[in-house]
Each structure stands twice: as structure tokens, then as C-alpha cells.
Symmetry: C2
Subunit: 496 residues, 2 copies
Amino acid sequence: MSRAYDQLEARFKKASVLGDALSVLQWDMSTMMPDGGAEARAEQLALLKTLAHQAVTGDDMADLLAAAEGESLDDWERANLREMRRDWVHAAAVPADLVDAMAKAESACEMIWRQARPNADFAAVLPSLREILNLTIQAGQAKAQALGVGIYDALLDQYEPDGRSADIDLVFADLESFLPDFIAQALEAQDQRPAPLAPQGPFAIKKQKELGHKVMAALGFDFHRGRQDVSAHPFCGGYPEDVRITTRYNTDDFATALMGVVHESGHALYDFGLPGGKWRYQPVGRARGMQIHESQSLLMEMQACRSRPFLAYAAPLMQDAFGGQGPEWDPENLYRQATRVKRGFIRVDADECTYPAHVIIRYGLEKALIEGRMDLADLPGAWNDGYRRLLGITPPDDRLGCLQDIHWYGGAWGYFPTYTLGAMSAAQLFAAAKQADPAIEPAIGRGDFAPLLAWLRTNVHGLGSSLSTRDLLVKATGKPLDAGVFKAHLTKRYLS
Amino acid sequence: MSRAYDQLEARFKKASVLGDALSVLQWDMSTMMPDGGAEARAEQLALLKTLAHQAVTGDDMADLLAAAEGESLDDWERANLREMRRDWVHAAAVPADLVDAMAKAESACEMIWRQARPNADFAAVLPSLREILNLTIQAGQAKAQALGVGIYDALLDQYEPDGRSADIDLVFADLESFLPDFIAQALEAQDQRPAPLAPQGPFAIKKQKELGHKVMAALGFDFHRGRQDVSAHPFCGGYPEDVRITTRYNTDDFATALMGVVHESGHALYDFGLPGGKWRYQPVGRARGMQIHESQSLLMEMQACRSRPFLAYAAPLMQDAFGGQGPEWDPENLYRQATRVKRGFIRVDADECTYPAHVIIRYGLEKALIEGRMDLADLPGAWNDGYRRLLGITPPDDRLGCLQDIHWYGGAWGYFPTYTLGAMSAAQLFAAAKQADPAIEPAIGRGDFAPLLAWLRTNVHGLGSSLSTRDLLVKATGKPLDAGVFKAHLTKRYLS
């Protein structure tokens, strides 16, 4: 008789292979699919999701998990079993009809939101968003009970396993007390320096793409196990043997796409480096969670590449690509461009100094909404209050306010904090890496990311989900998440 | 209680949606996937195939089918039920371990064949091919028993439902007695005419692609429901809302790729025109079989487009695309190029006069091998005998002989005759279409395929699998498959 554990492995492998197929179908939908194919694709995605769900929610799962927990397992098997139980709790907690209702409500609300956003018409999407919120609360309550945590934490746990709002409250409070003054000082310091010169386009997309591929290759992106394409909203999809990143190009501005390429490549390098072999299709072989995943993209983008060493290496590549000459192509000028601070309304356009403010505002609001401390009708006002308080600006309308992000309208509640948790983790991991290997930073200056990648492979990528996020950070950096390292990074880069 | 029939519809829809997902994953594998992704993709394909198989082979299928056959059904439902039973018989006849063994043997043999072909080393692949043949005979015997037909017919039925070798023997004998003399006469007539002038390249792929898209649009290809890409082996994949054709370009020769585009577009137009709505995900909504599918590609390529009217329309487009001037761009010269006859060793390079000889040789050999009348070790000699007898040429080695096609090495036995059945059906359908609507041919001369497409929609595409191949031909053309129409077409084009 095979162990209960082995039976579980077979089921989770099935769910994982279905997940891989789903990721290809989703990539195709965003990059290749003709518009007429949307409905048929939705059928495919819905069916594969249902099958993946069924694979790990059989009636005998509770018994199998319990039996496996009594079996003799090695450390990784035990970690795998822990992640299996987490998956199962999330999958089984919510009744099938609620899952169905959510999927339908999410598609419907997303569709209305796509109209409402350009029209800055929050009222148009409010009823539909209210339904999403109600269903999310129902699902959150069911998961909260199964996990033995509060409702917000139950939702957060979907994206950041073991993430707890009590911990986030502490680090965010720390940041919140730091940010307003810091941003003001950073802007003041910036005003003291000469304004950076912007390289003038047009920048041919073909040239941008070639430059991006050079940089991807330098970072360690393996084109035998991945590719890069165009989509309206950049993302990283796929799986370790076939990682696919996407980029949005703008012929007036090459730097945004290039930094986007670096960002998504950071995600991709994590996926490339996940434990393979026996763990390839198991929960323990997956990336740890959104906090660490975002830390890998931000480590590459914000820590490693919006830096003097990287831009000294990249400036000649940029000049070559676009025939650039003159002071605007000087590495120091490019660095000032890449680290420009500006208070703005739109999260995805924000620099690393103001970005946490965008996230902290959303985190507070979604927690209040989920916990029933605020009514949805009050969201636009509360949103704008947050922007006044943390950034000193007032969105002129809801298009530039609470309608800008798809997350809530698409049913993703509890996701936002992972962006800033990721940014803080990135600072902490990069600092530890540089301390562990002083060759890392000079190598980046030569376009050689091998030393950095080696450290990340050992300390992050290759661990999969064997450790909790907290334990991973402690093991790699000597301490749990600490806003101080991130604040020190910001202070050094923007105030010194 | 829902009808047994309705329960069956739900199961076949599931299999069909999985089939759609599979077709996207297969398209991606041939066009987009980095080489490192092969193993993971194989896992996905194997799992989805197994799930699709399971969806229509439950223990209660025999009872459900029997119950549904006693229910009150309309004509299309009844035709759907007939196709459901066919699917089930094919799926359930072969035990799971044999299906597994075949899949593994096929991958293994294909891999060896990829090495053996360039080396012209039949001996290297013989043991592996012998295993494939043995397993195919086992599966064929199981299906033959379930279907109540001979073993070859049971295999043929997988590709051409209700296809029977007794019927094929008759039409192929007719062709076989016609071809050797006809080919000699066609070559003689060709020698009497001035040799066509070949337009000189290089022909930029970008220009070839643009020209191809113009022609696709003229044919009626809907780019909102399909796309065109590059692959090593051209094919048409996808489903009615998202049909994907592929092309292989050669900068020395634009005509081959262009006619390839026309050919695959013929397949695509069939898929676009299949019955949608209630039948979209049902067996009766599928294309009728490989004979009619190939008839649609060959009708467009051989009948409609390797013709004077089409080339008179296309010549200026070609001249525009490549800056062509001079007598080689004259429509009559292009027509002589497009209808050039040449005895050759390679099937996929053959013209429409010699192509049937390639197929008749393979058909005779595969039937003898499947029915145990010939040993595999004798294949190379028998192959070469066939080429001497029907084409008067002897392949210098097995690379240009029995190693050239992937079919047998990949487990596709019983497929070859559908190419020539398709060519004959194409001639018969095009003749009937032109007779029914005399506007069809002049419209093609203006690049207007709407009249032809309208006739095909009504008489072929929109019927799905509601009629048998035979009944479809009788209804559309007034008679079952008749080699005479094809012979008349060849005689008119090549000897008059």
C-alpha cells in the first residue's frame, strides 16, 4: 500500500499540471488570442479551474491529510504536506455554489468597471462591486473559520501564506509615520539638484526590444526556457521550464518599458530557480507567496537596476540602441531620471518613495470594508482623504482615484499589501546579499548578475515554499521583516 | 429528471472544451514554446487527453447511450447521438494500458525517426516501428470487434468516419489505371509548352506575409477569429472562434508559402463555418472527417487558386508585394508555374497529378502491414517497387523513400487515403458549386470568394457531422465519390 502522503502527491501533481496549462492559456489570452476567442477561452479556463479544484477537494482529503500527518516524512515532505493542507483548506472552505457565484460576479463587475473607469463613474459600478464585496466577505468568513484567523487575514492568506494584518499594521505604521516627511525632504533634495534631461524619442520598438533582450540575458534570463512578448498589462506567467514575461512599449519613452522588462525578469528568475525534480509539481516547489515574488521583481528593478552601477553598465547599451549622444545619455543623468520622485495619483506610475503610500491607503480601506467598518458608498471620499493625508494631493475624479486598479473589481481583496511587503523584503534581501558577497555590486556594474543570482538561488529561489516567509527572511537576512532597512535604503538613495 | 441524451451532451461538451484547450497548447508548442518547455507541455497534453477520454468513457456510458437511443430526439440530436456512440466505441474499445503503451511507443519511435530520417537509416527505427505496428494492430483488432468491421477499416474510421477500404479500393483502382499514362501525357504536353519562368527572389518574409494576409482576407479568413503564424510544418488548428493557421516561409520562393496559406485557409474556412450555437461543443458540430476537411483545403488550393482566374487576380498583388516586373509575373506564366508537373520522391512536394500515386502506394502498404500480409522488414523494398510501378522512379535511399513521412512512426495508420479522397471530393464539390452558381468562377477572377464560400457554407461547412461523408457528397453533388470528376479535372487542366 502506498502512503497516504504519496496519494496526495499524485493529486497535487494533477492540480499543478492543470495550473501550468491554465497559465499558458492565460498568457495566450493576453498576447495572442484574437478577440473573437474570448468566450471559448473563458469556457476552457473555467473548466480547467474546476478540474484543478476537484483534484484536491475529494471527500477523502481530510482523512488522507490526517493519515499523512502521522506518516514518517522528511523535512521537505512535511513542508509539502503543510502546503497541501493550506491549499485544501482554501479550496474546500468555500462551497461550490459560492465559488461559482464569485466567478460570475467577478466577470460581470470587471466588465462594468472597464466602462466605468474611463467615465470616472463610480456609481455605475457600485452595485456590482457591492455584490463582489458581499461574496468576498462570505468566502472570507468561511476561510477565517477554517484557518482560525480573522476575516482579512483569511483573504490575505490566499496571496501571502501566513501573512497577518497585525504584523502588517506594525510595519505599515512605521512607514506611515516616516513617509510624509521623507517624501517632502526627498522632493526638496531633488529640487536642489539639476533636473534630469529626458532622452528624446521616438524610440523604435524593435530597438527597445533588442535592448531589453540584452538586459534580460545579462540578468540571467534563459531564452531556452522562456520568452518575452507584448501585452497591454505587463506580467510574468508560465512555469520554471517556460517562463513568459510581457512588456508594454511606448515609442516616446524607452525607460519605462526597460524597467518593466527588468521587473518582470526578476519574477522570471524566481520561477526559473524554483526547486525542480521531485518537487516540480508539488506545493512545496512553488514560489513562497506574493510578498517574496514581488521582492524578487523589486530587488532587480528598484535595488539592482535603478542604481548607479547598473546604469553605468547600461548607458552605452542604450546609446548604441538609439544612437544616443549628449548629456542626457550620461549615466548620472540616467540615474537621476530613474530615481525621480513625484507625487501622483496613479499607483502603477509611482516611484519607490511614494508607492508605499498608495498601498497603505488601499490596505486600510480594504480592511475597513472587509471588516464592515466602512460602507462602500463612502469609498471615493475615504480614498481621497487618504491621498490628502499621505501624499498631500486630491484626485480630481475617481478615474484617478478609487477606479484605477482592477483588483477589487476583479475580486482580489487582501492582495495590495504584498506590493509594499515585497518592496521592504527586496531592500532587506539585497542588503543581506551585498553583505554576504561584496562582489555582487561591482559585478552589476559590469552587467554581470551571476554573483547576485547565485545568492538568490541559494537563499530564496531554490527554497520554494519549504520555509515560511518569515523563516525565509530570518534565514537569509538574520531578522524578520524590518521597515528600517527599507527606510535606510530610501534615505541613502534620496537624501544623501 | 433530465434525459439521458442531455447528460451525454454535458459529458461531450466537457471533452470538447478540453479538446479546445489541447489545440491551443499544441499550437503554442509548434509556434511559440521555447525548447525547454517540451517536457512540461507533454505532461499537460497527456493529462488533458486522459481527462477528455475519461469524460466520455464512464462505466455508465453504454447504458446512457442505450437509454438516449430510446428517447424522443430531433434529427440533429439523433445525428449527434450517432457521433457520440462512435466516439465512445473508439475511446472505450482500447484498454487504458494499451492506450498508455501506444502513447509511449509513439513518442519513443518519433524521436528515433527524427534521427533515422536524415541518416536514411531504416534499420535504426525498425524495432521501434515494429512495436508501434504491433500495438496498432492490437488496438485495431479491439476497435474492429467493437465496430464490426475489418481491422484496417477500424483504423481508417478514426480519421474518416464510416470510411471503408472496399470503397477506397474501387476509386483507387480507377485512379491507378489512369495515372501512369496520364502523368506521361501531362509531362509530354508540358514539354510542348514553353517552360515557365521562375520569379527571382529574395522575397522578404514581411512582404510574403502581407501578401498572404491579403489573399487570406479575400478568401474570407476572419482575423477577429483567427491568426496566422510561422511553424516548421504548416497546419491549421484551433476552433471556430479562434482558428490558427501556420506557414513556413522560404525567401527564395514565395509561391509555395502562398499556396500553403491558401491550403490552410481552406481548412480554416471550414472550421469558421461549422454549426455554432447549440452544436458548438457537440460531436455533430465537428467537421465531418479528414476526407471532407482535406477537400476544403484542396478545393481552395488546387481547384480555386491554382487556376487562371485566381492568378489573373493575384498577379498584380504579387507584383506589388515584390516589385515584380517582366514576363515571369504574367498571369499565364504564373499559372504554368502553379500547375507544373514533376515526378518526385517526396509526397509533400508533389503536384496534384502525381500526389495520388504517393498516396496509393502508402495505402497499399499500410493495409498489407496491418492485415499481416507483409513484414515490416520488407517495407523499403516494397516502397521502392511502388514508386517504380506508379511513377517510374526509384528512391535513391530511404530518406527519400519510406522514412519521409511521420505518420506511421507517430502511430497514424489509416490516415493516408484521406488526402486523395479529399482531392477527389474537392474536384467533385467545386464542379457542383460552379454548376449551381455560375457566378462563382468569374468572382474568383475578381478576388471575390463570397459566392463560393456561400455555397460551401450551405453544402459543407454548416452541416458539421450531421450527414455521413457519403450523404454529404450525394446531397451536395448528386452522387457519391466518383473518381471520374477528378480525372476530368486533371485531363482538362493538364491535357487540353
